[in-house]
């Protein structure tokens, strides 16, 4: 049964990937990319990687198609003509890389094999010891937020950098004319049904984000997913009721500062470890006993992750829509 599900999901992934490459209509490509994200999430789910599936659903199927749509509204919907020779070159390159990838699988340990080195060397300690050392049931969170917390700090900085990069890029293209308020900023403003449903949905979305944020130690979730979901609540509101209404709560400048605060929170928790006489990002002495210390550290850094991810997503959306408003007025 599971084999059939695998085959069906992988088959659909393949079809979707080819369709994305084929599509001239970029709007269709973006929609297909969203489907691709959802299929990947399902496939990760079948493989038992719940946390990864959750992230992929929130990012791959959620926010990234949204941002791509925002881009398309700036660039236009259809792809310009392509050069056949270039296509042939790219195709041969893709086939070469694909062949190498397939070749690599020949000597690969079988999927799920308990004898695989990945299950034998480092992982057993996470499985057997993390409950004693860190004391939270979700081992993935233990690895991400404590054993390899430094990588996660890096990932948060990656997201922060990406947000600033978008800001820096679009700032260098000042929008033509004054931004207009009203209709143009919120294309769906006139749709009464959407507004009513939106009003009903947005509060649960925000509460769900908080649940994902603070429940990450016990179930799938954590700062990354929560941040994305939280941002989606705001973005949805902006689409339905206008960016100017959202800007009254959080402006572009405020969002930038909040994004910075998230990274600083994470970085400072690490420094606290040093003040307690341990190494960077060592939380064990943040409280009386090591396990409580780990808990406090993990909650604090996850909060930093959530804050930065949510504000960077909002920032990117604000900057794009700001451009859009200026462009249409100009």
């Amino acid at each position: 049964m599971e084999l059939l599900v695998d085959i069906a999901l992988l088959g659909l992934l393949l079809v979707t990937a080819v369709a994305i490459a084929w599509a001239r209509d970029l709007l269709a490509a973006v929609m297909l990319a969203g489907i691709y994200g959802l299929l990947s999430a399902s496939f990760f789910m079948v493989m038992g990687a719940v946390d990864v599936a959750f992230t992929e659903a929130a990012v791959g199927a959620g926010i990234s198609p949204l941002l791509m749509l925002a881009t398309l509204s700036l660039t236009g919907r259809f792809q310009a003509g392509t050069d056949t020779r270039r296509v042939l070159f790219s195709l041969s390159l893709v086939i070469l890389v694909g062949a190498l990838l397939v070749a690599a699988t020949l000597d690969m340990p079988a999927f799920g094999s308990p004898e695989a080195p990945a299950q034998q060397h480092v992982a057993p300690r996470y499985i057997t010891e993390s409950m004693n050392e860190i004391g939270i049931p979700n081992i993935v969170t233990s690895v991400l937020a404590s054993y390899r917390a430094y990588d996660t700090l890096g990932e948060v900085v990656v997201i922060f950098t990406a947000g600033l990069g978008v800001l820096a890029l679009l700032m260098s293209l000042p929008p033509q004319g004054e931004p207009v308020r009203g209709e143009l900023l919120s294309p769906m403003r006139g749709h009464r049904i959407l507004r009513v449903i939106g009003k009903i949905l947005i509060p649960p979305i925000l509460v769900f984000a908080l649940y994902v944020q603070f429940h990450g130690e016990y179930g799938p979730g954590g700062g990354f997913q929560a941040g994305v979901i939280f941002a989606v609540g705001f973005i949805l509101y902006a689409m339905l009721f206008g960016l100017d209404v959202v800007a009254r709560v959080v402006s572009n400048a405020v969002v930038q500062v909040i994004a910075a605060v998230g990274v600083l929170l994470y970085g400072t928790v690490g420094l606290l470890g040093m003040l307690t006489g341990n190494n960077y990002l060592d939380y064990r002495d943040l409280a009386g006993d090591p396990v409580t210390g780990q808990h406090i550290g993990i909650i604090a850094i996850e909060l930093g992750v959530g804050i930065t991810v949510a504000s960077v997503m909002m920032l990117v959306f604000f900057v794009f829509s700001g451009q859009l408003a200026g462009r249409r007025a100009g």
């Binding site: 190498l100 990838l101 070749a103 690599a104 699988t105 020949l106 000597d107 690969m108 340990p109 695989a116 080195p117 990945a118 299950q119 034998q120 060397h121 480092v122 992982a123 300690r125 996470y126 404590s146 054993y147 390899r148 917390a149 430094y150 990588d151 700090l153 890096g154 990932e155 900085v157 990656v158 922060f160 950098t161 990406a162 600033l164 990069g165 800001l167 820096a168 890029l169 700032m171 260098s172 930038q256 500062v257 994004a259 910075a260 605060v261 990274v263 600083l264 970085g267 400072t268 690490g270 420094l271 470890g273 040093m274 341990n278 190494n279 960077y280 990002l281 060592d282 939380y283 064990r284």
Partner: protein
């Protein structure tokens, strides 16, 4: 505090970067970033001293033992590269304030400094870490910030250049990640030392070979090895002047470091250079890069682009050194890593001065500049002769070591072609000298109009370093010899 030096090296600029957004005053932000980079420079000097005195430093992040947690592992090789990156990053930053005020809008300046610090910490993080996945994370930080920094260039073509680099760079980073994934699949570890210990037992399975191929191509995209260099000339030419100086002096160096780390320390020389015909590939592509890029450089009209092609050529020299597969060759590469950073730092900072005054880096803008900007042109001439490799400059030392390493391993043809590459460098540097000193300016009798001191001092600091390290070679020689010997001794 001394025990925390390895992590402070990276974490200081990393935490300082978001703080810039909170300070929000561009003059103050510049001062702050400069002080932070000075602190990073101090840390790297102390680290090098510590490694020379008492050997490898291992630092366990989060207090978890490797390979369960992430380890920072500073040996003589990465201490050397850390010093290069932080020294050049600091000197360029000293010049940044003046140049950036002229080239960027008010609102972009704070973003510039934030991105600069992010890129700086990203590069330092790649070098300091002893964990391959951590390499990828910091590679992403440095890459994303570099794309944005390049795109800040005033010329609209900067956007296209940044986009090209983004596509090529992302392919490179993805390949590296695929390779790391395969390595994890066959060894179950991400720690470099642990990988080096476990890989020999696995031998040459196709998964390991594929991992090696993906990692190699990924890194070579990043270091712009011919023919994967196509993103580099435009990126260097259209980026803001100080950004060019910064990435030319540091980013490709870090990629060369990664190549050495993966081929020599992790996979091991025996695997890397003998199982695959890699030796011929590296020497061949390196030489092709030296010759082709140098010829193309001769025909460039934009001087920033000309020196960008020259950078592709210089990367070729470094790759040949690795390809020779001997300790002497590796030492030559490590020497050139340092010396090339000094040359290109001086040259691109001097160009920043020219762009500041003249507003263009086209060859026509250099007519008669020898009289109009004597000090800036003087620095360009010193950087140029160091690039050619004339005696009494730093460039001579590394070329001398490289050519003797080639001769020692009886690669006579290689040695000959390396000399030919230097002659080509004479050709393109001479064009610039000819325009500046032997052509009359377009508007004659213009009084001397030097670049401001805030640009001249950092430029001349690097120019003088080119001369100093051409004479007093004790430090670079001692460090690189130690590094190449330990790497070939098999210890990580």
């Amino acid at each position: 505090m001394l025990a925390h030096l390895p992590v402070l090296q990276v974490i200081l600029p990393l935490v300082a970067a978001p703080s810039c957004l909170i300070i929000r005053k561009s003059g103050l932000v510049w001062l702050f970033t400069f002080l932070v980079s000075l602190a990073a420079l101090t840390v790297s000097a102390l680290l090098l001293q510590q490694v020379i005195d008492s050997g490898v430093i291992s630092y366990h992040l989060g207090g978890w033992d490797a390979p369960w947690g992430i380890e920072y592992r500073i040996d003589i090789l990465n201490a050397w590269v850390l010093l290069i990156v932080s020294a050049l990053g600091t000197v360029v930053l000293a010049a940044a304030h003046t140049s950036i005020r002229r080239e960027l809008e008010e609102g972009q300046q704070i973003l510039f400094y934030t991105l600069y610090l992010l890129c700086f910490s990203g590069l330092l993080g790649i070098v300091a870490t002893g964990d391959v996945f951590n390499v990828f994370v910091f590679l992403e930080i440095s890459s994303l910030s570099t794309y944005a920094l390049i795109a800040l260039g005033r010329d609209r073509r900067a956007l296209w250049a940044a986009f090209q680099y983004l596509v090529m760079g992302t392919v490179g980073a993805t390949f590296l990640l695929i390779g790391i994934g395969f390595l994890y699949m066959v060894t179950g570890t991400l720690n470099m030392q642990d990988l080096a210990a476990r890989l020999p037992a696995i031998g040459t399975s196709t998964t390991v070979l594929a991992a090696f191929a993906f990692i190699l191509v990924g890194i070579c995209l990043k270091l712009a090895l011919f023919p994967l260099h196509l993103w580099l000339p435009n990126a260097y030419a259209y980026a803001p002047s100080v950004v060019t100086a910064f990435i030319a002096a540091t980013a490709t160096k870090v990629a060369v470091y990664l190549l050495i780390r993966f081929t020599v320390s992790i996979f091991g020389v025996d695997f890397s250079l003998s199982v695959l015909p890699l030796q011929h590939l590296l020497i061949g592509l390196g030489l092709l890069g030296v010759l082709t890029a140098s010829v193309v450089a001769v025909y460039q009209m934009n001087i920033k682009r000309m020196f960008a092609y020259s950078s592709v050529a210089q990367v070729g020299y470094m790759i040949v050194g690795i390809g020779l597969g001997t300790a002497a060759g590796l030492q030559a590469t490590l020497l050139h890593l340092f010396n090339h950073a000094l040359m290109k730092g001086a040259l691109f900072l001097a160009l920043a001065g020219v762009v500041y005054r003249v507003g263009s880096a086209n060859i026509s803008a250099f007519r008669g500049l020898g009289r109009r900007m004597p000090w800036t042109m003087g620095a360009i001439v010193i950087g140029g002769i160091s690039l050619i490799g004339m005696p009494l400059t730093a460039g001579f030392i590394s070329k001398w070591y490289l050519i003797s390493a080639a001769v020692d391993s009886s690669h006579w043809l290689v040695a000959l072609l390396l000399v030919a590459g230097s002659l080509l460098a004479v050709a393109y540097v001479w064009r610039l000298v000819e325009a500046a000193y032997f052509h009359s300016p377009e508007t004659p009798d213009k009084p001397a109009d030097e670049a401001p001191l805030s640009l001249l001092i950092p430029t001349w600091l690097l120019a003088l370093a080119n001369l100093y390290f051409g004479v007093d070679t004790r430090l670079p020689l001692a460090v690189t010899e130690m590094a190449s010997r330990t790497l070939f001794g098999g210890a990580l």
